[in-house]
């Protein structure tokens, strides 16, 4: 098991190098450059200023040199400095990461908390009204663009009803104490988490239902039922345990997906996380920050895959890693 983890981790290295090369080149190929004096950037950049910046950021070096400089820095923990703010990329990311992790984590928990019971219940009552309704809703959920859903929530709960604050994570006008402080935080989180969790919940519900159905029709479940076990124990202990195996993969791989979903959610609700940082950096062609975020996302995907594989072994003793 331990050697398996080590081997898989080592295999991830060439993969990450490959990803980083592709990311680096793709960013270089986008039209315009970091020094474009865009309307967003403001100001007419003078020739001297552009020249100075080009030199400072090494933009005149050949691409392979730029790549090696950047990749070498990444390995050493020096992620470069933002073209925009001049701050170290790593500081910027460390500032923003906790917010995104909080959002992603909450959304993941919410998605699981809804999808598991609903999916299991729907599977045990296949073709019931509940099954139809939950299936219908999850299709709607998968098909709803999250930015649209977010705007609708904003419109309804913030602008029309005025129940929930529209932006940020806290009330900036005054400090609350005790329960009011808790509500302050919760009221700011409800909509962003709902938007982020929507698609994940819908997808997970479908997967839970389907894998439960598959298992429920197998012989050993019928045997368990036939031997007089209570239905509850059949479903939870015998069926769900087996159904959970493929679900683990899906669920764990959903984490990077949620992480990327934060891009939209954070923009709509003015939440200062990694997603917003990504959009801002993309607009400003702030390559060092973009590369930093993309590298983290790539790491997350690779890591999630690894975790899913390892979890397999823990849940299903039949799988052994040679």
């Amino acid at each position: 098991m331990g050697s398996y983890v080590i081997r898989r981790s080592l295999q991830a290295i060439p993969l990450l190098i490959g990803i980083s090369v592709v990311l680096f080149l793709m960013l270089q190929m986008t039209p315009g450059g970091p020094l474009a004096s865009s309307e967003a950037g403001g100001g007419r950049a003078t020739a001297e200023r552009t020249e100075r910046l080009r030199e400072e950021f090494g933009l005149d070096d050949p691409l392979p040199v730029q790549y090696v400089n950047w990749a070498g820095g990444m390995v050493r923990g020096d992620w470069g400095t933002s073209y925009n703010t001049g701050r170290p990329v790593i500081d910027t990311i460390v500032d923003r990461l906790p917010t995104t992790l909080l959002l992603t984590g909450l959304a993941f928990v919410v998605a699981l908390a809804i999808a598991l019971p609903v999916g299991i219940f729907a599977a045990t009552r296949q073709y019931s009204t509940f099954d139809y309704v939950s299936s219908g809703l999850s299709f709607v959920g998968v098909a709803t663009p999250s930015f649209w859903f977010g705007l609708m929530l904003l419109f309804l709960f913030s602008f029309e009803l005025g129940w929930l604050p529209s932006s940020g994570l806290e009330d900036l006008r005054e400090q609350h104490l005790g329960l009011a402080a808790v509500w302050d935080r919760v009221s700011h989180l409800i909509m962003p988490v709902a938007v982020l969790a929507l698609i994940a919940t819908a997808q997970l519900t479908r997967y839970v239902r389907d894998s439960m159905l598959e298992v429920l029709h197998q012989d050993y479940v019928r045997t368990a039922r036939g031997s007089g076990l209570p239905e509850r124990s059949v479903v939870v202990r015998h069926a769900f345990r087996n159904a959970a195996i493929p679900m683990v993969t899906i669920a764990v791989l959903m984490i990077p997906e949620l992480f990327l979903g934060a891009v939209i959610t954070e923009s709509i609700f003015a939440i200062p996380g990694m997603g917003r940082l990504f959009i801002e950096s993309a607009e400003l062609r702030d390559y060092p920050v973009l590369l930093g975020i993309l590298t983290i996302a790539a790491l997350l995907v690779v890591l999630a895959n690894l975790v899913a594989d390892v979890l397999y072994g823990l849940i299903d003793p039949r799988i052994s890693y040679g």
């Binding site: 039209p31 315009g32 309307e39 403001g42 200023r49 001049g86 500032d95 904003l154 709509i268 801002e280």
Partner: protein, 570 residues
């Protein structure tokens, strides 16, 4: 440097002009009574925090080092020597008086200006403010290792000498008519080790000032917190009432405006002219908000007519090189329809390249006259083909018409212009491009810089003086970007020696009347030659919550500088 005036969130990015307008305070506005919204007679309440939605974050809050729009709010902490009024005149702030030839502050040759500083001013950390700080600020600007982005008015400054603690003498290489626009930001010398100050320096991000508020915290992407300056030097005369101001960064401008109308924010930095119809409606429907409009002209939506053949300055543009063609386009566009139908009236007609401030020259916009336009084209030999599109000597009157993608309001009036020009036999294809493609530098293949366009549209201009951001000079021959001159700023690749001579002389004339006359001549010439056509001048406005009192628009930047006097309704 473009001003907004549109409604899509994307367009919010367009106020960055403000940013660049370092030298001077920004956002045109009007003179007007102070204390609007002061309805009670009661003593203003002290305390409370004003919450301002900021739709465009700046990466640093010191305009000397950052040219993004948000940084201009730094004057809440950083006070200038002088502050501009809407008519282009100035009031002293940290200076004790306005230097003039009469009081000996300005030498006869216009090359030496003596600034007398106010007594008893302290930085917010308690250290005294002196002429040393003024000199230090200029030394930083001069240091080739610093990354300061000084406004062009500093180009003429040769040296700054400290006469005594309260007196700084500035020597210019040429007479500098814009000496009052110098030192809009002053750096506290005691906070620096050397003059090689770069963007990474904490003072470039959150500067220390002498002003009514003090920067306390800057959480990137989240908020910028200002607290009242408890030791404000002018507290007795002009007390600061608010405990602080918090800028909440809300990149979605539409959401910010909606939340503002619901009372979540006290004001929004900034509202675009596209928001004004909705905001005025909301106010009239009884929402607790106040709206005020500027009366003077502000940034202009320009059509840049390329005067080069794909960047080649030796050959005129095959279509737009013909003066008759430019005249026809000018006469063929129904500007009033654009203003009334698309902008709901929130725009002004303007035909002058120098439209604002002390040097403003009134030039009427070309009348909408398709008959005369057709006639001009007929006479110049542009003949209509079977498809209704004109051509001359085998050159078809077909033009690309481009602006930044994703701006719905602009796309609407682009279509109006397209139809207008079709009616006079000019075929226009709308092919918008991302902003970095449009404004990229020469090395980055920017379309404007490379001269790779026919008609491009953007909002540009200056605020107080044509020298701001080098506005007058970007139309000179030397600013045409090319391989040998990649830093050129020209938007039209136009070259007219007469224009060059006029603005050059105006740039070093300290005699106001003479300057005004020179700019007037240049503006007339510009309107005759038509390297660019003004579509309309934006109407600027501001909106704030009714609970916020003491709001006025006495100075050039609209309501923002009045934050000093803001307080919350009891």
């Amino acid at each position: 440097m473009q001003l907004a005036g549109e409604e899509s969130p994307v367009s919010a990015t367009r106020c960055s002009f403000v940013a660049a307008a370092l030298a001077v305070i920004v956002c045109g506005c009007s003179s007007g009574g102070s204390g609007q919204g002061d309805d009670g007679r009661a003593e203003p309440r002290t305390g409370g925090t004003a919450l301002v939605a900021m739709t465009q974050e700046a990466s640093g809050m010191n305009p000397l080092f950052n040219d993004q729009s948000g940084s201009f709010l730094s004057f809440w902490a950083q006070e200038p020597l002088f502050v501009a009024r809407p008519d282009g005149s100035f009031d002293p702030v940290l200076a004790a008086e306005l230097p003039s030839v009469e009081n000996g502050g300005v030498a006869k040759d216009g090359r030496t200006v003596t600034f007398k500083l106010r007594e008893g001013v302290t930085w917010s950390d308690g250290k005294p403010f002196t002429a040393e700080d003024v000199k230090f600020t200029f030394d930083v600007i001069q240091d080739p290792d610093s990354t300061a982005l000084p406004p062009s008015a500093y180009d003429l400054v040769e040296s700054v000498d400290v006469v005594d603690d309260r007196t700084a003498r500035v020597r210019m290489s040429k007479p500098n008519p814009y000496y009052l626009g110098l030192f809009q930001q002053i750096l506290p010398k005691h906070k620096f080790e050397s003059t090689a100050v770069t963007t990474e320096h904490p003072q470039a991000r959150l500067p220390l000032g002498t002003g009514p508020f003090v920067f306390e915290e800057f959480r990137e992407g989240d908020k910028i917190v200002l607290k009242r300056n408890e030791d404000y030097w002018n507290q007795d005369e002009r007390p600061v009432r608010l405990d602080g101001i918090t800028l909440k960064i809300t990149p979605d401008a539409q959401a910010a405006i909606s939340a503002f109308q619901r009372g979540e924010f006290d004001t929004v930095f900034f509202v675009t002219s596209g928001d004004l119809p909705n905001l005025t409606k909301a106010r009239d429907d009884g929402r607790p908000i106040e709206v005020t409009l500027q009366e003077t002209k502000s940034h202009v939506e320009w059509l840049w007519l390329n005067q080069s053949d794909d960047g080649d300055h030796s050959r005129p543009h095959p279509v737009l090189g013909d003066p008759a063609m430019r005249e026809a386009i000018d006469l063929g566009i129904d500007r009033k329809a654009v203003i009334d139908q698309v902008l709901e009236g929130f725009g002004k007609l303007n035909g002058s390249v120098f439209y604002s401030g002390a040097a403003a020259t009134e030039v009427p916009a070309a009348p909408f006259d398709p008959d005369r336009a057709n006639q001009a084209l007929d006479e110049a030999g542009w003949v209509r083909g079977s498809d209704g599109v004109r051509s001359k000597d085998g050159v078809r009157a077909g033009l690309r018409f481009q602006t930044v993608t994703g701006d719905q309001t602009r796309e609407l009036y682009q279509q109006l212009v397209q139809q207008n020009l079709k009616d006079i036999g000019i075929e226009v294809k709308i092919a918008n491009v991302p902003s970095n493609l449009m404004f990229g530098t020469y090395q980055e293949d920017g379309r404007l810089a490379r001269g790779n366009f026919d008609i491009m549209m953007s909002r540009e201009g200056y605020v107080v003086d044509p020298l701001d951001e080098g506005w007058a000079s970007i139309f000179t021959c030397d600013e045409r970007a090319s391989k040998s001159n990649p830093g050129g700023q020209s938007l039209t690749h136009w070259c007219n020696r007469e224009y060059d001579a006029l603005v050059k002389e105006a740039a070093s004339s300290v005699e106001p009347e003479r300057r005004k006359a020179l700019y007037a001549q240049a503006a007339q010439l510009f309107a005759r030659e038509r390297p660019a056509l003004a579509l309309y001048s934006s109407t600027w406005g501001w909106a704030w919550s009714s609970r916020l009192k003491g709001v006025s628009k006495e100075y050039f930047d609209g309501i923002w500088r009045s934050a000093h006097d803001w307080y919350l309704a009891g």
